[in-house]
């Protein structure tokens, strides 16, 4: 009881002075409901089982810790891609910097506009998948996002969307505390690519709800910025229909605290859902957590979780991943791999892979490894004349290849690979 009291006190401390954004009746109700759920669950603490490896205190603190603004001095990611660009500065939509919100096969609106409309498809999605994703494991920070989100976009793909939609998250204020919530609805047979990049704010909470209808395809590539001091928590909730495809890849470079949760539900037969990520971290204060929960609730589903972490200098990586195969979800093919490459003895990787299977005709596999550079391979490369430093970098990149291969568009994969090469080169 003492613990519960502590938790509710901490939660109330976070909520002091908080006002919910106003919109149409349905959106006010969704936000109020989310806030009530936050109060009922309480914000997470490091005592929670689900936060055993990651201390959420900086994510739940009433005030966001400061984060210096970082100028990478390089061409922004995806700059050369022919895309529809939507810019947020410290979590606020920037009309001037953004393209017009129109595109072939797609409807795009600012979240606030959608939430102000009395009748809007967003009603069926906003906070809905998030709420579903609260069982069997509670994710109070996602509910907090639903309650507080001030900006974001809602995207409805009705056909094959020609250009990727690119959300650019700039960070210019060292005290900013941004809460963004995005919705993506992929209609039957439609296809869309969503790109996201940038640190977003000193502290950032991002929530993405994605509904992929039968035969739809959602392709997501995201990079979380090179800022060293940022704190980030993101949630992606997705529900995918029959013969649909969902693919999400995240690159994390630097940052002190990152928790990326992905909650996926396969509800239609013959669907595929892949989530992958690469993180590279350097230094004692780097902490990166991937927490994934994939539910198979249909026939012949294929899911993949591929996570690779390169850690050095006391950096910490965490992976919590689960495949839940419900009764009747026969012929499920579930694959999960989480691996870390520890570039020195100080770095650490904590992994909790889980399988829970209630169907008898499934093929699920999972593996988790943690290791150093393969000395035999290193010698092989050097014996061919490749200098030690280049050989190490080549092996490090090759370690990440399986995750990068999950990016369907090779030019996007190549661009991220180049950035990773840059990160390694800066640490020579």
């Amino acid at each position: 009881m003492a613990l519960a009291k502590l938790k509710s006190d901490a939660t109330e401390a976070r909520l002091v002075g908080v006002t919910l954004p106003e919109g149409a009746a349905w959106s006010n109700a969704a936000r109020a409901d989310a806030l009530a759920r936050v109060r009922q669950m309480g914000l997470p603490t490091k005592r929670d089982e689900y936060w055993k490896y990651t201390n959420p205190s900086e994510l739940t603190a009433a005030e966001a810790p400061k984060a210096a603004v970082f100028d990478a001095g390089e061409v922004p990611l995806f700059d050369a891609v022919d895309r529809l660009k939507i810019v947020f500065v410290d979590g606020v939509f920037d009309t001037d910097a953004s393209d017009e919100l129109t595109g072939e096969g797609v409807e795009i609106e600012r979240l606030a506009d959608a939430m102000a409309a009395d009748i809007h498809w967003a009603k069926e999605l906003y906070g809905v998948l998030e709420t579903r994703g609260q069982t069997p494991v509670e994710r109070p920070l996602a509910a907090l996002n639903t309650a507080l989100a001030t900006d974001g976009v809602v995207i409805r793909a009705t056909g094959k969307v020609a250009k990727p939609i690119h959300l650019v998250y700039l960070h210019k204020d060292e005290t900013s505390d941004a809460v963004l919530h995005n919705l993506v609805k992929v209609e039957t047979g439609a296809e869309v690519t969503l790109l996201e990049n940038g640190p977003a704010a000193a502290r950032f909470s991002g929530c993405l709800e994605v509904e992929v209808a039968d035969g739809g395809s959602f392709h997501h590539v995201r990079a979380q910025g090179r800022d060293h001091e940022r704190r980030t928590v993101t949630h992606c909730f997705a529900r995918v229909g029959a013969e649909s495809s969902f693919k999400s890849f995240t690159l994390t470079v630097n940052g002190v605290m990152t928790r990326n949760e992905c909650v996926l539900e396969i509800i239609g037969d013959d669907a595929i859902a892949h989530v992958a990520g690469v993180c590279v971290g350097d230094g004692n204060d780097f902490h990166h957590d991937d927490t994934v929960f994939i539910t198979h609730d249909a026939l012949n589903g294929e899911s993949r979780q591929v996570f690779k972490k390169v850690l050095r200098n006391g950096a910490t990586g965490v992976f919590q991943g689960k495949i839940l195969v419900k009764e009747g979800a026969q012929k499920t093919d579930g694959y999960q791999i989480s691996q870390s490459l520890l570039l020195d003895d100080d770095a650490q990787f904590l992994a909790k892979p889980e399988l829970e299977i209630y169907a008898d005709d499934v093929a699920c596999s999972h593996g988790s490894t943690s290791g150093a550079i393969d000395e035999t391979a290193l010698f092989y490369l050097r014996s061919r004349g490749v200098p030690q430093y280049d050989a190490r970098n080549l092996l490090t990149l090759s370690f990440m290849a399986e995750a990068l291969d999950e990016i369907a568009d090779p030019s996007l994969a190549e661009e991220l690979r180049d950035r990773l090469e840059g990160w390694l080169a800066r640490r020579s």
């Binding site: 393969d374 000395e375 035999t376 391979a377 010698f379 092989y380 490369l381 050097r382 014996s383 061919r384 004349g385 490749v386 200098p387 030690q388 280049d390 050989a391 080549l394 092996l395 990149l397 090759s398 370690f399 990440m400 290849a401 399986e402």
Partner: protein, 251 residues
């Protein structure tokens, strides 16, 4: 070309002496063979010459064209012209064979102050050499040695050798795990590289490879030393009588 004098090598972590005063000179343009029973230290010799960790040289020297090999990093030895075809080629998941080859070729050119090969020239050269070794485009695309059969791995070693055109080629049991056809391919690949300026040290347990790659000199190695040196007829002696007679004779 290669001059080894009184080489003594022990394991770094263990009190185990493997090479016990080995002398060997390979002249420029010649093909030398080393034969010897398993465990005599043949692979250790090849590793020590190419700079693998885990061994400690306690005495002796090894020079490549007058340069102290033992003082160089592995990549420097490679750039100086040394090449080892591994007994057990290493698999490198995630690194494409082509990328690997190009990285290696250009790294060596750079180390020697030469210009890098353009992508086009490189491709042309690889394709031609791969064709001779019956290495198909798919094998070039796949990650280095991953999922390759034993024979494919060995052919891939020879392809690397051909692309890097080293001065001193060491082949460690390149015949092991090869059927007759594959052995012929590998031997043809090696023979095509024979030239006045290039030397070979062919390590093998069996005589059969030497039917295809005719050596100028044959050495018998036992217990960390060269115990007997002769012409190609020495290989035939081993073939006919095994090692025991020779070993008994020299002990």
């Amino acid at each position: 070309m290669l001059e080894i004098k009184g080489l003594k090598v022990k394991l770094e972590d263990e009190d185990k002496q493997i090479l016990k005063g080995l002398d060997l000179t390979v002249e420029t343009g010649k093909v030398h063979a080393i034969m010897g029973p398993n465990g005599s230290g043949k692979s250790t010799l090849s590793y020590v010459l190419s700079g693998k960790d885990g061994y400690e040289v306690t005495d002796g020297s090894a020079e490549l064209e007058g340069e102290d090999l033992l003082d160089m990093e592995p990549e420097e030895r490679a750039a100086a012209g040394l090449f080892l075809a591994f007994q057990y080629p290493v698999e490198i998941p995630g690194v494409g064979n082509m990328t690997f080859l190009r990285t290696a070729v250009n790294a060596q050119r750079k180390a020697r102050g030469e210009e890098e090969l353009s992508a086009g020239d490189f491709l042309k050269e690889v394709r031609a050499k791969a064709k001779d070794l019956k290495i198909d485009a798919d094998m070039l695309k796949r990650p280095v040695n991953v999922g390759f059969s034993g024979g494919e791995k060995k052919r891939n070693e020879i392809l690397q050798m051909a692309m890097l055109s080293p001065k001193m080629c060491i082949l460690d049991e390149t015949d092991s795990g090869l059927d007759v056809d594959a052995m012929k391919l590998v031997a043809d690949g090696v023979n095509a590289l024979r030239s006045e300026g290039r030397s070979f040290l062919v390590i093998t347990h069996y005589q059969r490879l030497l039917d295809h790659i005719k050596p100028d000199v044959v050495h018998i190695m036992a217990d960390g030393r060269i115990v007997k040196t002769g012409g190609p007829e020495l290989a035939l002696e081993v073939e006919n009588n095994g090692y025991s007679d020779i070993l008994a004779e020299v002990s």
